[in-house]
Amino acid sequence: MRGVGAVGGFLAGRVDRGGFLAQRAGVAGAAVLAVAALIALLAPLLIPADALDVTRVTDGAWQPPGPGHWLGTDHTGRSVALLMAQGTGTSLFVGLTAAVLAVGIGTLVGILSGHFGGLLAGALLRVTDFFLVLPALVLAIALSTVLPRGLGTIILAIGLTSWPSTARMVRAQTLTIEARPFVERARALGGGHTHVIGRHVLPSVVPLVLVNATLAVASAIVAESTLAFLGLGDPTRISWGAMLHQAQLHGAVPQRAWWFLLPPGLAIVVVVLAFTLVGRALEAVVTPKR
């Protein structure tokens, strides 16, 4: 039951050496994320539909930052600031969903291989190794080329390529937990697989998984941006990576339109940094030893 206590104790600070709130960098990251989430939620409500409709915009293309569009306009005359706000949602959504998918697969594979061992573990681990040695980006590109273009494909591509490290970590943790006397006692008392996994192993790996998920979001956002930048994303959906893609496709660099290149790039850096900070802070809180 220790694991559950740890989860509950993150914020309150009941765990050994201070809670999450004691980690200043982590709190700063969380604040950034809160702002990003707020923008993502409010953007679709506040931005008038016409403002991002290429057929309706009235501003000229490639306008430098100025009144009315304080981050300039893109190649079609849409406001970059509004595009940024609109893109926040996509980038966060893809990042989160892909991370959940990756960590979900990783946890499942990790626990199963750690708990059951034997042939099943062997098979699962070989699959894990297979995905581990494959360059994730290449695999993701291949997947998103074969599957129909779209948000779902991107999420799938990222999710399917970034779970092996989680699986390895969770398996290791599962093995440690199962070696503990209380699991042995539970078994002796007649606890089946479901009981052991559900009541003992899972609660103990949850903090680790949570930390892993937070860090996975960061890399998933980068992966999404990469794929979108390479033109493999959903072409009609605005995301930060897609903005970078359009910027380079439509000649923002030769146009010297820094206002179309820098904001999405910086936004990716900031949000990824925020997730990493939060992840590291959580790690410091939940890591058993240290």
Binding site: G77, P235, Q255
Partner: protein, 558 residues
């Protein structure tokens, strides 16, 4: 001296009988001469491999003379037998007709009574006999080829008759050609011609700005604008001979009438196709996507070929009118459902092509207006090609370069050009098959009175416009740029407002003149002096510093 040309489009085949992509046929033109050619100045017919031609009075027999003295790049003489061999190969092997079949479908037989004379007999009089855009291949190489379908034509150096010889091809990286010293017009004024692949045109434009490549075409308008006033770069805005179209799958069928592909059945209804065409704001696309560097689309022949070009009259004109399009769809039996949509369509285009990416957004909005949710899929060249040949599309972006004689572009829409039962052979553009159109096509093919033929060709375009198997969106200006500090001039076709790349010929590359050597030598001497000076200065500084340090240590030792 090497002319480096940026290339973005992939190569489908180096085999001239199979090559359909513009990039491939462009390189084909450099490797192989045709029977006749078009002048650079005004695109009139001129000497190709043949220098004389004579139709019989009934226009059914044409005699071409291949003069003595022309040689293949390996030194073998070019004879009439090579010409006859090429055409006969196409007549006997349906695979060899894949790319240029339309030119020979009307041929009765082709013979070479001697080394200098080619006699072509046609079934009916054919007007395109001086516009046979078929690369002539060397018989002594190709008679050993067993299967055209699998022949990659990559025995380097590839024996050819054109101004350049293919010497190396690494797919997706570069294509290298050397000037053909045996070329009968005389070798080009520079040694090698390299096509360098770029992932996207932006990178190509950047490379042009930095001087890594010498020639870039098909620039996006924004990229073209960005090169304005750049030192060492000259821009060339030309009237293009290409059009961009939006294909609407009209219920694709094979030649034998078997349905193929999975196009939305609603599109079989011409009223639906017309409504879709009516909902597309062509003016807005030209203004906002092409940034004005294009002309609004109408017929199949671009305005650069003035007399063949067709414009709809006031009554024929389909004006942008979403309300009318909505009403038409209602009337056609596709009412809006509860969620406001009628039926979904897929739009497929090429990823990385600025036009497709941007225009697809416009189309998504425009189609949304008339209750058609668009699923936009941007894919690689090959995937797009697969989808369009297998007819697994509803709407698709496409485009064709047209020739001086409109026959080829018109032939793409005849029933006979649809694929055979195995899905292979034939080069239909949009799976159009229309009796009226086919009848007109046959008529124009045997109409030797040019004025009358022009009329028929215009009627065909009007029929095409009315039946909309594709909406001609725009005739893009060809936006090109070149390093005028490396190459002083390029031959454009036509001379006024013409293009350098994607010509009806190879003049652009062949006629490139390296920039004056004297100027360059002087420039490099100054650079050399400056560099030398800098090196000496650094050396002196190093020596001084070393000496001082040595002194210092010596002092410390004492």
């Amino acid at each position: 001296m090497i002319l480096k040309v940026a290339i973005v489009q992939q190569i489908d085949s180096m085999n001239p009988f199979l090559a359909v992509f513009q990039s491939s046929t462009e390189i084909g033109r450099l490797m192989y001469d045709y029977l006749t050619a078009y002048t650079a100045a005004d695109q009139t017919v001129t000497e190709g491999l043949a220098n004389k031609w004579e139709p019989s009075p009934d226009k059914l027999t044409w005699t071409f003379t291949v003069p003595e003295g022309k040689k293949w790049s390996d030194g073998e003489p070019i004879t009439a037998r090579d010409v006859a061999f090429t055409y006969n190969l196409m007549l006997s092997d349906s695979v060899a007709r894949t790319a240029n079949g339309s030119f020979v479908t009307n041929f009765q037989d082709v013979t070479a009574p001697d080394d200098r004379t080619v006699v072509i007999r046609t079934k009916t009089p054919q007007v395109t006999m001086l516009a046979l855009d078929v690369p002539i291949v060397p018989k002594h190489v190709w008679e050993k080829v067993s299967g055209i379908k699998d022949y990659a034509n990559d025995q380097m150096p590839v024996v050819g008759s054109g101004p350049f010889v293919l010497t190396e091809h690494v797919a997706g990286q570069f294509i290298k050609l050397k000037a053909n010293k045996n070329y009968w017009r005389g070798a080009a004024k520079f040694d090698e011609l390299h096509f360098v692949y770029f992932q996207n045109s932006d990178a190509a434009v950047q490379a042009l700005g930095k001087g890594e490549v010498d020639l870039v075409n098909r620039m996006a308008p924004a990229q073209f604008d960005s090169l304005d006033g750049k030192a060492g770069v000259t821009r060339n805005k030309a009237q293009g001979r290409r059009f961009t179209e939006l294909m609407i799958n009209p219920g694709a069928q094979t030649r034998t009438g078997e349905p193929i592909g999975d196009g939305n059945p609603a599109l079989k209804d011409v009223r639906v196709r017309r409504a879709i065409a009516q909902a597309v704001d062509l003016d807005a696309l030209v203004q906002r996507v092409n940034l004005g560097y294009a002309e609004k689309g109408s017929g199949l022949v671009p305005p650069v070929f003035g007399k063949w070009h067709w414009q709809p009259t006031e009554q024929e004109q389909r004006r942008f009118d979403p309300a009318a399009a909505n009403a038409a769809l209602d009337a056609a039996g596709f009412p809006r459902k509860a969620d406001g949509t009628r039926f979904p369509l897929r739009l497929i285009g090429r990823a990385g092509r600025a036009y497709d990416e941007q225009a697809s957004e416009y189309l998504k909005r425009s189609m949304g207006e008339i209750g058609i949710p668009l699923d936009v899929r941007l894919v690689s060249d090959n995937q797009l090609n697969e989808a369009t040949t297998a007819a697994t599309y509803d709407l698709a972006f496409s485009g064709w370069a047209t020739n001086i004689d409109p026959d080829f572009i018109l032939s793409l829409h005849t029933c006979a050009q649809r694929p055979g039962a195995d899905g292979k052979g034939g080069t239909t553009d949009a799976y159009f098959c229309d009796e009226t159109y086919d009848k007109l096509y046959a008529q124009q093919l045997s109409e030797f009175d040019e004025g009358k033929r022009v009329e028929i060709v215009k009627q065909m375009q009007a029929r095409f416009y009315d039946q909309v198997p594709a909406v001609i969106l725009s005739y893009e200006n060809a936006l090109e740029g070149y390093r005028s500090d490396h190459f002083a001039t390029f031959t454009t076709q036509p001379a006024q407002g013409g293009v350098i790349m994607a010509q009806n010929g190879m003049w652009g590359y062949y006629g490139a003149e390296p920039a004056g050597r004297a100027v360059q030598a002087q420039g490099s001497r100054w650079v050399g002096l400056a560099l030398g000076g800098a090196v000496i200065a650094v050396l002196v500084a190093v020596v001084v510093v070393m000496a001082r340090r040595r002194n210092a240590t010596a002092g410390e030792r004492e």
